[in-house]
Symmetry: D2
Subunit: 135 residues, 4 copies
């Protein structure tokens, strides 16, 4: 499992878009993953909240890593769905994804995205998606 | 309608995340919107394709603008779903969203995202989501 | 709250399609609902498993009731997404939905659908959707 | 192709749930399918409209058949998402699904569901989902 976590970190660090946005893979378990994203001005929309596109990036990538860890190797996200619950602001976002249904051909994951403001986590989006083995 | 398009462009240009990523609002109609995103190295994942998170940003924002134009004013995306069809590479991405079901309380939009390589458009993702009036 | 549960049961019992399929509202809380559906031959697909359409009915209706209970009154489901995890067979299905994000204008719910075979629950589908107040 | 259509009809006719609900497979093409469902009292919810669960059955099954025809054989729906646009009433419902992204490992389909009242089709729901080959 240590090897798998190291593998996950290696993959994550080789994603230019994750570096560009400023995200970090802050936890990787046998079937779950946590990403953290400091909120900078670059990530905002016109009202000063985090843009939905930055939140959807977190859902996409946290689901991909949770699914890939559950599958034990290279994996791709094939689809996901996200519901926005409230505007996101604060110091950073945390996305936690967990594999719920694990098969050989697909893993279905759920993901919760929290905005952390003054040390308090507020649920701002939930997502659900499918990860498949890379062919 | 010219005013509405100008309003849409004004909103788009005041989104720091859209500028940061490098996206442009290249068309705005009474119930549809087109976004264009030049593919730069910053937008890629570990295999050199565009990261799903950048594609999901396009879906989120194209749907938001198509829905907002159909609603005629300030609007929010409440949820969307995206399916990735093939890896995205080339010179740029184009996302086209269209309002399909227009009510007072919600507009449901479909969105197609194309990767343009050597001048040829290839469908690389489709999305569907809901836009509601800003309260 | 007793009144709200009685209200939920009254609504459920006045749904011809729920009676036709044979579903029961087996639990109703302040922000969650449980539906139970005995598996009969009428509900099956060509391989003898429960048809996805019967499972999607359960997701649709369990989400609607969980959301309506959280909203405190008449409500409509506006959208949902479902992932099928494994073929469903056994004596009955149980769908449990829970409101996760509760606002005035919408409630977002998650739902798990289990197939019960020889007394053992197996997770066969998960869903996520939005409920809005009836206008 | 005639063989494939005959194969599709044979599969459809061996689905007890489709017979129970009263649906018919009214068209089957190389990558699309149409289902028709007469509106009977059994299919309604508490306000006299067609229950969302009956509409979601149509989306599930039309997507499955369109995807299976595109894949050329036995197939399963792995997930879908549906947005309800307006209450459904009239003489019957028609669901038309079309494969949009066709690969070896998955087909992604869009589906439109119309309510037909006094001979006029009204779009009442749209859906999008994934079909995979049966293993």
């Amino acid at each position: 499992m240590d090897d798998l976590q190291a593998f996950a970190r290696h993959i994550f660090e080789s994603q230019p878009f994750s570096r560009f946005i400023g995200a970090q893979l802050t936890n990787a378990g046998p079937k779950d993953a946590e990403l953290t994203l400091p909120i900078t001005d670059n990530l905002k929309q016109q009202h000063g909240f985090v843009h939905g596109g930055a939140i959807s990036y977190l859902a996409d990538n946290a689901i991909t890593f949770a699914g890939g860890l559950a599958l034990g190797g290279n994996a791709l996200i094939s689809e996901f769905k996200i519901n926005y619950l409230k505007p996101a602001r604060g110091s950073h976002l945390v996305a936690r994804a967990q594999a719920k249904g694990i098969g050989k051909r697909q893993v279905v994951c759920q993901c919760e995205i929290y905005a952390v403001e003054d040390g308090e986590e507020k649920l701002c989006a939930i997502a659900q998606g499918t990860v498949v083995p890379a062919s």
